[in-house]
């Protein structure tokens, strides 16, 4: 690929990046991914979403990123493909089952889940070991997946609020079903504790349920918003460290850029909110992601509206709706591509421990690993 045309833009942004990033790594996959899933503290899984055959890869992050004292002596900056396999269809959702070497995926066109074994030291091949049937057959949208946080391999899955089910992986037995009359398409499923989970819908409804009881779930309706037919995405702050489920915070983001923070205990009242400057460049918003930083209190990351990943500090937000500017913007994906390409970010994840390290992937196949500098710190 020729550098000349992009050279100047790259130069400007790259030179600026000397101050704005502590670390920056840029990779090009053969095919773009819309999933990035941690399978250990140093490895992630990515997979293609082309219409037929795709690759699923487990990548080890560069040693240089983790070298602390002797960072200078480590020259290794490459991803290592530690395991790889082939899928028969696209991968739209992929989750790792904690405590195992197993991941579960969904192709976005049916409710069936594929189960994979990532492989150990003796082989580098990722093999399909089975499948999990959905509660009902769905032809579009595909299922969302959440893995139970404890060591029992169980997955929560479903495409709509009415067909959410918890299935035991080894036996395929359904252990729990969310009983509700609604059939709202889901944007995500998430466990906030080992037993309590959220079924977040595209229309903004959030169902809070407990797998230990047969009681009906609590429903938290969407916040009041200005636009018509907005879509909503939701994230709850760190499930496993939330010993008290009621102290969890939820962020909800609308397709018009409105972000609302609330307490799980009291969702009727917005704790705070802001109008984000998401600079939406394209109309297809399938891949919007909003996520709490696991190790940076009050910060969220937002992506999917454009080629940038934005970091916002929600702790300065107020109860009245006001415009908020991002604390940081990673524009690396836009800058490295041709202007008319319409590159957009397909996925991002925070590193579970390093406060400012993120991974992001875009529609052009790029994957970036970056550790940003908080320029406002000290003020």
């Amino acid at each position: 690929m020729d550098e000349p045309e992009c050279d100047d833009v790259l130069d400007d942004w790259f030179i600026e990046s000397l101050k704005t990033y502590k670390d920056l790594y840029v990779y090009q996959l053969e095919c773009p991914t819309k999933v990035i899933e941690w399978t250990s503290g140093r490895t992630v899984c990515v997979a293609g979403y082309g219409s037929s055959k795709n690759e699923i890869l487990e990548l080890r992050l560069p040693p240089k990123l983790f070298a602390n004292e002797n960072k200078g002596l480590c020259a290794e900056r490459d991803f290592k493909v530690v395991h790889g396999g082939f899928t028969d269809g696209p991968v739209h959702c992929l989750k790792h089952v904690p405590g195992t070497r197993c991941v579960v995926s969904n192709d976005g066109r049916s409710s069936e889940l594929q189960v994979w074994e990532l492989g150990g030291e003796d082989s580098d091949v990722i093999r399909r070991t089975g499948s999990v049937a959905g509660r009902s057959v769905v032809s579009e949208g595909g299922s969302r997946i959440a893995a139970r946080l404890s060591s029992q391999p169980q997955v929560l899955h479903g495409a709509r609020s009415g067909d959410v089910q918890l299935t035991e992986l080894t036996s395929g037995q359904p252990l729990y079903k969310l009983e509700t009359d609604s059939a709202d398409p889901l944007s995500s499923l998430q466990f906030v504790t080992d037993a309590v989970f959220l079924a977040c819908c595209c229309n903004g409804n959030v169902y809070i349920a407990d797998t230990r009881t047969a009681a009906a779930p609590q429903l938290s309706p969407p916040p009041v918003s200005s636009g018509e037919s907005v879509l909503w995405w939701t994230d709850a702050s760190s499930g496993s460290s939330c010993l008290d489920p009621t102290s969890c915070r939820i962020v909800r983001l609308s397709s018009s850029g409105q972000a609302v923070i609330s307490d799980l205990r009291n969702q009727r009242e917005a704790a705070s909110q802001a109008q984000l400057d998401v600079q939406s460049h394209h109309c297809n918003l399938d891949d919007v992601t909003v996520s709490w930083a696991p190790a940076l209190d009050g910060c969220i990351a937002v992506s999917g509206f454009s080629g940038a990943v934005q970091i916002y500090n929600t702790s300065v937000w107020r109860t009245e709706l006001q415009e908020a500017q991002p604390l940081f913007q990673h524009r690396g994906h836009t800058v490295s591509s041709q202007p008319d390409d319409g590159v957009f970010v397909t996925s991002h994840v925070w590193h579970p421990e390093r406060p400012r390290t993120l991974l992001s992937a875009a529609s052009d196949g790029s994957v970036h690993v970056w550790d940003w500098v908080d320029q406002s710190a000290g003020s």
Binding site: M1, D2, E3, L10, D11, F14, I15, S17, L18, L24, Y25, V26, Y27, Q28, L29, E30, E55, L59, P62, N70, G72, L73, C74, A75, E76, R77, D78, F79, K80, V81, V82, H83, G84, G85, F86, D122, S123, D124, V125, I126
Partner: protein
């Protein structure tokens, strides 16, 4: 069936020494002859005992080909040619021929003088070895002998690096050496045509990695330099090769302009001298496009970069210095290092691999106290940064190369089979070719299916076509009749008559006869007529004639009837046929059948 055999030489599974033996069409070729940099004993040399247990290698090898000047590809060459013994041709590109001896001599000095090794090649051996070198130009076919030809292709990676195409008859192998598929600032990307070799041999070292972008490596370099300069520190960059040093200079120059930095940047005089020499090599080696952009900035005519003088090392304040040699093992870079090592504000950036025994190697292994001459110790307080700028192909790059060359088989060396099953599966799936991964010392044998081109005479072709039926095509071969003549190097298929004529031979026909006895009271003519009628009814589709001369002909088989002299009721059938006509799928019927009928 003809075979190609490939054996990576040397003990142990690990990376670090390239030396591959290929047997193709009766020729034996050694590809690269590298040194394993991690060992101090015989394990650092490839295991030549595979070729012969004792004695010289000359009669066993038709040629040796070296892909580029890195020591893990040529480090054992003088040992092989002068200490084990090989007098045949050694092929390499012009830049490799120019740079190899310098690196080998440096390496020898470090190993012998500094480490006191004894079983090592001498300076004279390096010179004698290089006398055997035959230089190659890109894309130029070289006849090693009547049957073996080789051709070098651009590999990128470092100055002079080549991929090599080896051909014997219609079998061929391509060896990649080290290469890169993403263009480098000064080297460009590897390129090869759709040569469809029977085998493509490549390193698997980086096959399972995804490479971080060049710009990020450069960013890291600039960031480190900038941080040191900002705190008033001095930065030492030991370099060897022209390309890398100049590339980093251009990078710094652009950066200095953009940031309006004032700290001085110097390059040492040793570098300038070498630069002149390599500049010529470099200009003829790189491609048009790169030559234009690179050559415009005539080397070392920079605004911010000035020649270094020894005394500047003591100047106060920040500065950046490029100095040789690259591994800090002697000369100016070592002198400067000694002066600057004690200050933690300073920095040394090592842009490449350092051989064991050098200061460079020690500090890259974290050593912070060094023993210098005269039992003096040096405290290493400055910041040490190891950066890798060399361009290598990664998983994606291998797939791109296979797409370019379209080999029939793929072979990966220097990797653990268990860790490459996914890549093997990927290659096999995408290209429907076999992918082999032999361990060191293990031979992979691949049968080839070479097509043998044969000229067919027009007469013969016309005759065959006149016989009718479908035209021959690769999926529906048809049998034909002719004579194959091998004359000089050509193969010709001609009609038998033409062949006999060319050979000056007469055609002979073999005619067989057999006599069959029958009991039949009829006259000779009647018997013959009955035979004729019978045959006509059972042998439909064949030409059967009752001729006026008293014979029946079935195709070209002649049947005559005569009575036995002793007994008029005993008839003797005389059957006669030409050798050829038997194979026109006509069954020769059994006498008893006829006998029964006639009764």
């Amino acid at each position: 069936m003809p075979e190609i055999k490939v054996t990576p030489l040397g003990a142990g599974q690990d990376v670090g020494r390239s030396c591959i033996l290929v047997s193709i069409g009766g020729k034996n070729i050694m590809l690269d002859c590298g040194m394993h940099m991690g060992f101090n004993d015989d394990r650092r040399f490839p295991d030549f005992s595979y070729i012969t247990q004792n004695g010289r290698l000359t009669e066993f090898l038709d040629c040796v080909i070296i892909s580029h000047f890195h020591l893990d590809h040529c480090g054992a060459l003088p040992f092989m040619s002068e200490m084990v013994g090989y007098d045949g041709p050694i092929y390499m590109t012009h830049p490799t021929k120019a740079i190899c001896p310098i690196l080998l001599e440096d390496f020898r000095k470090i190993t012998v003088d500094k480490k006191g090794e004894t079983n090592f090649f001498t300076s004279q051996m390096i010179k004698d070895c290089m006398k055997k070198v035959v230089p190659l130009n890109l894309h130029q076919t070289v006849q090693v002998d009547d049957e073996l030809e080789i051709k070098a292709y651009y590999a990128g990676h470092v100055l002079g690096a080549a991929m090599v195409h080896i051909k014997v008859g219609s079998e061929s192998v391509v060896y990649t050496g080290d290469y890169n598929m993403t263009p480098d600032r000064h080297l460009g990307a590897a390129w090869i045509d759709k040569c469809r070799p029977d085998m493509l041999i490549s390193e698997s070292t980086y096959a399972t990695t995804i490479r971080d972008s060049k710009r990020c490596r450069e960013r890291d370099f600039l960031k480190k330099v900038h941080e040191s300069i900002e705190r008033g520190g001095k930065v030492l960059i030991p370099v060897f090769a022209l390309g890398r040093a100049q590339e980093l200079c251009i990078l710094l120059e652009t950066f200095w302009e953009r940031m309006n930095l004032k700290a001085p940047i110097y390059f040492s005089t040793g570098l300038t001298e070498k630069a002149n020499h390599y500049y010529k090599l470099f200009i003829t080696w790189t491609n048009q496009k790169i030559r234009k952009t690179f050559v415009q900035r005539n080397m070392f005519e920079f605004k911010h970069i000035k020649p270094f003088d020894r005394s500047y090392a003591d100047n106060p304040g920040p500065m950046v210095v490029f100095a040789t040699p690259g591994m800090l093992h002697a000369g100016q870079s070592l002198q400067i290092f000694k002066k600057w090592a004690g200050n933690e504000k300073n920095m040394v950036i090592m842009p490449g691999y350092c051989v064991q025994g050098t200061i460079g190697h020690k500090i890259l292994n974290g050593q912070r106290k060094l023993e210098m001459e005269g039992r003096a110790t040096l405290d290493v307080k400055l910041q040490v940064e190891y950066m890798s700028f060399s361009a290598h192909a990664d998983a994606k790059g291998i797939m791109q190369l296979i797409r370019m060359a379209e080999p029939r088989n793929m072979l990966l060396v220097h990797g653990e089979a268990a860790k490459m099953e996914f890549l093997k599966g990927k290659i096999e799936q995408e290209f429907s070719i076999d992918c082999y991964m032999p361990a060191n010392g293990e031979t992979t044998t691949v049968t080839t299916n070479p097509s043998v081109p044969v000229d067919i005479s027009l007469n013969l072709l016309k005759r065959e076509m006149a016989l009718g039926g479908p035209l021959p095509d690769p999926k529906k071969p048809r049998a034909m009749h002719g004579t194959l003549i091998m004359k000089e190097n050509s193969l010709k298929l001609v009609s038998s008559e033409q062949a006999l004529k060319e050979l000056g031979l007469n055609e002979h026909q073999l005619r067989f006869t057999c006599r069959v006895q029958l009991q039949d009271p009829h006259s000779d003519n009647d018997t013959l007529h009955r035979i004729y009628t019978h045959l006509k009814s059972v042998l439909k589709g064949y030409t059967i004639q009752h001729l006026p001369d008293g014979t029946v002909m079935v195709e070209s088989i002649v049947i005559k009837v005569s009575s036995s002299a002793e007994d008029a009721n005993t008839k003797v059938l005389l059957l006669s046929w030409i050798y050829e006509s038997v194979y026109r799928s006509l069954r020769v019927w059994q006498p008893p059948t006829l006998d029964i009928f006639l009764r």
